[in-house]
């Protein structure tokens, strides 16, 4: 992808950059020499996680074991959420964005973080109190199971598919960059390992893969930040002043006048070209914020803890670690400006990073800790993708086996052994399709797919959850059809927006001019649920409304939770 395309793709592309693993696809990919240190370290990570999967497999016998892992603490779950959320791409993408343009990278980082308090305040405890395995348990609690579960399963599969394609393609690209191995190897390794984790270890193995990865990523990034701070005498003022001096000198060398060069150097300390029109900015911000509260693989993590109290603690810790991680990436971006800008081993002629646009933090790792540490950080980046895809696969598999098979087809009377078998078959099918999709989309622009996943989650799942939890008048038809309209609005507006209409279809002007649909599609979802529920005169609507009181009581108090949660 060219740099100019990035600019047209704007916010959305960068959202994909920062959340999807497709970090590496910005800029030309040059396959690197085979990096055996990185491969060995990664093999070590795989060995540990397979060992854990083996241990988890012996304890994964019931459907509940498979979907929830038999229960972990809020602290562990918080780490696992951070492991699920902090992708390789935020690590590589945001640091490189700061290395190039300075401050702007922090704006995405903040957007990714502010969704968490919303999840905490509005849905976390009610979700835990009402649900068992999937968010559809909660969304369909007092409604007719068929329509609402079907909506939730379709929405889960859509969100997961777009997210997963971006991760698979990103993994392939990243492996070419970091390990020097071919694309297909990477796709197969990722698809195969995620199948093994989920198939045998279920949620227990997935949680531990995410926890280990989060600890590795946080430790690695902390070590790098210590290296940077040591270099600048532990003074932020020195760090920023030297970064400005470096950018000024680069501008002077490119032939700018001294005053223009000074202004260009200073520009890294404030917001730059990232946000052009305020509508896109706000819309993008809302997609991030509300999408987090509708991502099925994140919501599913609430059922791994025993009660609402631990669910709240999970988010507390997730927010601490994710916030800490983004603060580290900010320092690393500026550290990279100071430490690698003038080293010809890292930066080629014209200021381009060697190996691709997203390699800033990798070069910084080499500058600080040598080959061994570079290998470690590369292995962490790849492990990160595995942790994310395992969580995605598990949530898609449970949408099929728990929501569609057990609840809709078998009307809630499924044989648990058969349900478990269905989830495992689904996992295998998902693993194979993920590999095929990874191959099919290798050369495509997948940057918009993660942002589309966030927009779909914000416009479909989030309104359905909020309305079913908090509004008595919500009915089966309102939730199922209103949610579907929210999804369609997000999807349709994304197709009509510049990232697809112009960049993919090649039309001259986008029909929908903003880069994110959320500011319009989220209200559309809410309005549709409200309107359809208000007009709903069916006999079922009366039952739906009458069920609110007991749903409300359970969501607020947790009475009855332990009857349904067989831990």
């Amino acid at each position: 992808m060219t740099r100019s395309l990035w600019q047209t793709a704007g916010l959305l592309a960068l959202l994909g950059w920062a959340t999807g693993a497709n970090a590496a696809i910005a800029g030309a990919i040059q396959r690197q020499p085979t990096n055996w240190t990185a491969i060995l370290m990664f093999a070590g990570f795989v060995a540990i996680t397979l060992f854990i999967t083996g241990a988890a497999a012996r304890r994964t016998r019931t459907v509940s074991d498979f979907y929830t892992g038999g229960g972990i603490t809020g602290f562990q779950n918080g780490l696992a959420m951070a492991g699920d959320y902090c992708s390789a791409a935020s690590f590589l993408g945001i640091t490189s964005q700061i290395f190039n343009d300075g401050y702007d990278g922090l704006i995405y980082a903040i957007g990714f973080l502010v969704g968490w308090p919303i999840v905490l305040f509005l849905v976390a405890e009610k979700l835990r109190n009402l649900g068992q395995f999937t968010f559809a348990d909660v969304a369909s609690y007092r409604f007719l199971q068929g329509p609402v579960r079907s909506f939730a399963a379709v929405s889960t599969l859509l969100v997961v598919s777009f997210y997963l394609i971006a991760q698979m393609v990103g993994a392939g690209q990243l492996v070419q960059l970091l390990f020097g191995l071919p694309y297909l190897y990477a796709i197969t390794v990722v698809g195969g390992l995620m199948m093994i984790y989920v198939l045998f270890g279920g949620m227990r193995a997935t949680s531990w893969v995410q926890i280990i990865k989060a600890v590795m990523l946080l430790c690695g990034a902390t070590f790098l930040v210590l290296g940077v701070m040591l270099h600048v005498g532990f003074s932020f003022e020195t760090l920023f002043a030297r970064a400005v001096a470096v950018k000024t000198r680069l501008a002077l060398e490119s032939g700018l006048s001294p005053s223009d060069a000074a202004a260009k150097g200073r520009a890294i300390m404030g917001p730059g070209g990232f946000i052009k029109d305020p509508i896109s900015a706000l819309s993008f911000g809302f997609a991030l914020m509300l999408g987090t509260a509708g991502l099925p693989h994140i919501l599913m993590r609430f059922f791994t803890v025993p009660d609402a109290r631990e669910a709240r603690k999970s988010i507390m810790w997730a927010t601490v670690w994710i916030g800490y991680f983004y603060a580290l990436t900010f320092i690393l971006g500026f550290g990279a400006i100071v430490m690698i800008s003038f080293n010809p081993d890292y930066v080629g002629v014209g200021g381009a990073l060697r190996g691709g646009n997203n390699m800033a933090v990798m070069h910084l790792a080499h500058a600080i800790g040598g080959n061994l540490f570079l290998g470690f950080i590369s292995a962490v980046a790849f492990a990160t993708i595995l942790a994310v895809v395992a969580g995605l696969t598990l949530s898609a598999a449970s949408a099929i086996s728990h929501d569609i098979y057990a609840s809709v087809i078998r009307k809630g009377a499924a044989d648990p052994i058969k349900e478990l078998r269905v989830s495992r078959i689904t996992t295998i099918l998902l693993g194979i399709s993920a590999i095929i999709l990874g191959v099919v989309f290798e050369k495509q622009n997948v940057a918009f797919m993660v942002s589309l996943a966030f927009a779909l989650a914000a416009s479909g799942n989030f309104p359905v959850l909020v309305m079913s939890l908090l509004w008595k008048g919500c009915t089966t038809n309102g939730a199922a059809w209103g949610g579907a309209i929210g999804l369609l609005a997000a999807f349709g507006l994304t197709v009509l927006s510049p990232v697809i209409w112009v960049a993919v279809f090649g039309f001259a002007h986008a029909i929908f001019p903003y880069s994110s649909p959320a500011l319009f599609s989220v209200p559309a979802g809410f309005a549709a649920i409200w309107l359809i529920s208000m007009l709903d005169r069916s006999p079922r609507a009366a039952i739906d409304k009458a069920g609110y009181a007991s749903q409300r009581l359970r969501s607020e108090t947790g009475i009855g939770v332990h009857d349904s949660v067989a831990h």
């Binding site: 401050y103 922090l106 704006i107 980082a109 903040i110 973080l113 502010v114 968490w116 308090p117 919303i118 905490l120 305040f121 509005l122 405890e125 932020f236 003022e237 920023f240 002043a241 400005v244 200073r266 520009a267 300390m269 404030g270 917001p271 730059g272 990232f274 946000i275 029109d277 305020p278 900015a281 706000l282 911000g285 914020m289 109290r309 709240r312 603690k313 988010i315 507390m316 927010t319 601490v320 916030g323 983004y326 603060a327 900010f330 009181a549 007991s550 409300r552 009581l553 607020e556 108090t557 009475i559």
Partner: protein, 96 residues
């Protein structure tokens, strides 16, 4: 069910709901304010603070990260403390 008609239950739900919506509103407003500053007043954001290199944007960005963690801490502290204690008391007295 007896709990549902207990005035302490109604009070608990009302208090917790008011608290969570207040914090939600604060989060949304502060974040929208931050994005609007970024969108509408870039020169102000780039202004150095205290005569050094560090700009207002960096300070506000760091405050956003810290503030997000802090507002979660405020909610969890109260919900896991005061509200859970009131709920436990309510459950104990209605079961007894």
């Amino acid at each position: 069910m007896r709990i549902a008609s207990d005035p302490r239950y109604a009070a608990l739900v009302r208090d917790r709901q008011r608290f969570s919506w207040t914090l939600t509103a604060i989060t949304v407003l502060v974040y929208s304010g931050f994005i609007s500053l970024v969108a509408f007043d870039k020169p102000l954001m780039a202004q150095p603070i205290g005569g050094g290199t560090i700009s207002l944007a960096v300070i506000l960005g760091a405050a956003m990260l810290l503030g997000t963690v802090a507002i979660c801490a405020v909610y969890v502290r109260r919900a896991n403390g005061e509200y859970d204690a009131r709920l436990a008391e309510l459950l104990a007295s209605t079961r007894a």
